[in-house]
């Protein structure tokens, strides 16, 4: 009788070190190092083709790294004695034999990891698929496929969960559901690693962000820090004495760009500092407005140079 393993009470850390994957001459992932910590949702974000899916495949041992390594709780995935009890993953919702029923698909997965059959019923209920459990997976919509993939990930009640673009194909109701679900899982102390190419989605779900572009880590920080550092707050300033004001602002360390009709855009100083400065200099202000750049803008700006496929701008 093999000794029973006991699930660690908290989550487990995913640690990637110098992960590199080349397919021939193409570099999919280039020297990635990062940690994914328990108890929070870590967003893995980058444009399409940035290497998100490849990284997740490397974590699961589906692809072998050309260099570097990645471990989960200190172990390589392929060395985990009962992988589905330790890591749940949704990579490709349609990676299921189309003529097998949802129930039988989950049953075979459960059996492969000695998971009791009642868990199949549990997870079908959890994702709201019990009424279609007997239907062939090939007849499922993309959204139902995503739910089935999530059910499979939950089978072993694992402390680490990975979802690759889980929102794809879900209806608005489903999107709200999965956001709440991921927050809930993280709240239980699990490690939740979720990829997306939509910054707005991650801003609502993640606590921590790992931004990648062309296979490299661009940022690795908390969502709050990311917002503060990257939303490049611009302040719109209108004044009859723009020239003097611009000089004073530049002297104070701000950068100034001319705006439309008698306005300037100031970066590097917030509205309070600009107002105080104008008052101190005796310069009148007609308008002082903070222009909040959206997270999406910040993300676009950051990854602009690393987008692999880009549509040409439409000629006017």
């Amino acid at each position: 009788m093999p000794e029973a393993a006991v699930r660690p009470s908290g989550g487990q850390k995913i640690e990637a070190r110098h992960l590199t994957k080349r397919y021939g001459a193409t570099v999919a992932v280039n020297d990635l190092s990062f940690d994914v910590n328990p108890g929070m949702v870590t967003g893995f974000i980058g444009p399409n083709g940035a290497g998100k899916t490849t990284t997740m495949r490397l974590i699961l041992g589906l692809d072998r790294p050309t260099e570097g390594q990645v471990t989960i709780g200190g172990k390589r995935y392929s060395d985990l004695p009962a992988p589905m009890h330790e890591v749940g993953a949704l990579l490709d919702a349609k990676a299921v034999h189309p003529s097998r029923s949802a129930y039988n698909h989950l049953l075979s997965l459960a059996q492969s990891n000695h998971i009791p059959t009642r868990r199949v019923h549990d997870v079908l209920g959890q994702v709201g698929l019990e009424s279609v459990a007997g239907r062939k997976v090939g007849s499922f919509s993309l959204g139902m496929g995503q739910r089935l993939g999530i059910a499979a990930a939950l089978l072993g009640d694992p402390p680490v969960l990975m979802f690759d673009e889980p929102v794809n194909g879900l209806d608005p109701e489903g999107i709200v559901w999965i956001r709440g679900f991921m927050r809930h899982l993280a709240g239980e102390g699990r490690t939740v690693f979720v990829s997306s190419h939509l910054m707005s989605e991650m801003a609502l779900t993640a606590d921590h962000l790992i931004v990648i572009g062309q296979g490299k880590v661009l940022r690795d920080e908390g969502v709050t820090e990311f917002v503060d550092s990257s939303s490049q707050r611009r302040v719109l300033v209108r004044s009859p004495k723009l020239a003097e004001l611009s000089g004073a602002l530049v002297a104070a360390g701000a950068s100034v760009q001319p705006g439309t009709d008698d306005s300037i855009e100031v970066m590097g100083l917030d509205s309070r500092a600009i107002g105080d400065l104008a008052f101190a200099q005796g310069l009148p202000l007609h308008e002082l407005a903070t222009q909040g750049a959206s997270l999406e803008d910040a993300f676009m700006e950051m990854t602009h140079d690393s987008v692999e496929y880009r549509g040409n701008e439409v000629a006017q």
């Binding site: 093999p2 006991v6 699930r7 004695p81 990579l91 299921v96 049953l107 549990d122 239980e188």
Partner: protein, 277 residues
């Protein structure tokens, strides 16, 4: 769409104990996989029709020919061989079952899900080998006996029949199942290496039917060597009651096919372990 259920199962209380997954778990999962797709039923049904139906037809026709003393049918009368002649074609259906068992993982991309559940790839492939080997053995053994008894019943009254107490008859019957095990493993290996059903089926057809015919066009010295040693021909001797010229003995021939199977299996294990999923 289905109702939205917010999860309420928090991790409370002590963590659930579990034991490491083992080979038996992987075999159980593969058994569930093969019995829960429609294509399995269809290929086995085709095998039954070919082995029993075609076997019965050939038995009836041959017995009739014997009764009328047509040609030299009486000098080489082999009632066991006649009753089991449908199995030659049924084997192909079984080979297709084994091929699809692995290539459907690739065509549906389910291989990623399967290898996430069972990341030890040798365990995954070995579990498939055990399941397909078991199905081939049991199913073909049943087919052999059914085809034999149906055939003998149709021959009876028109020509001499065979029975299991005659020399080599029981060995030929059991040999049918053993040969099918090797053919199933060869097919599984080809499927694992080529990851494509059409390609693997083409190779199996070439192995079973095309190359032996090509060999017949060779100069007789080479032809006889090929006839003797061609793995599927050599292995097939174990299913024959009467030993033909230029053939190995039943068990020698079976050993040749075993060696060939082992080489292909080794190639399949190497391929699945080395390649990205």
């Amino acid at each position: 769409m289905t109702n939205i259920v917010l999860p309420s199962t928090a991790i409370t209380g002590p963590p659930t104990g579990y034991r490491p997954a083992n080979f038996t778990d992987a075999v159980r999962a593969e058994w569930t996989k093969i019995r829960t797709v429609r294509s399995t039923l269809w290929t086995l049904l085709v095998a039954v029709v070919l082995a029993v139906g075609l076997g019965a037809l050939i038995s009836a026709l041959a017995a009739n020919g014997y009764a009328q003393g047509r040609g030299n049918i009486r000098t080489s009368w082999d009632p066991t061989g006649v009753s089991m002649s449908g199995l030659t074609f049924a084997q192909l259906a079984i080979a297709v079952l084994a091929i699809i068992f692995i290539t459907s993982e690739y065509s549906s991309r389910a291989i990623g899900t399967s290898l996430t559940a069972v990341p030890r790839r040798s365990r995954f492939l070995a579990a498939k080998a055990v399941v397909i080997g078991g199905i081939c053995l049991v199913f073909t053994e049943i087919l052999s006996f059914v085809a034999f008894f149906v055939g003998q019943a149709l021959i009876s009254g028109h020509a001499p029949t065979a029975n299991l107490s005659q020399p080599n008859v029981l060995r030929a019957m059991i040999g049918g199942g053993l040969y099918a095990v090797l053919l199933g493993l060869i097919s599984l290996s080809l499927g694992a290496m080529l990851r494509n059903a059409a390609g693997a089926i083409a190779v199996i057809v070439a192995l079973l039917f095309v190359l032996p015919v090509v060999a017949a066009a060779l100069p007789s010295s080479i032809e006889h060597t090929v006839e003797e040693w061609w793995p599927t021909q050599a292995g097939g001797q174990v299913t024959n009651v009467i030993r033909g010229s230029h053939t190995l003995s039943p068990w020698e021939g079976f050993a040749v096919m075993c060696a060939f199977t082992a080489i292909l299996l080794a190639g399949a294990f190497a391929a699945i372990n080395r390649r990205d999923a």
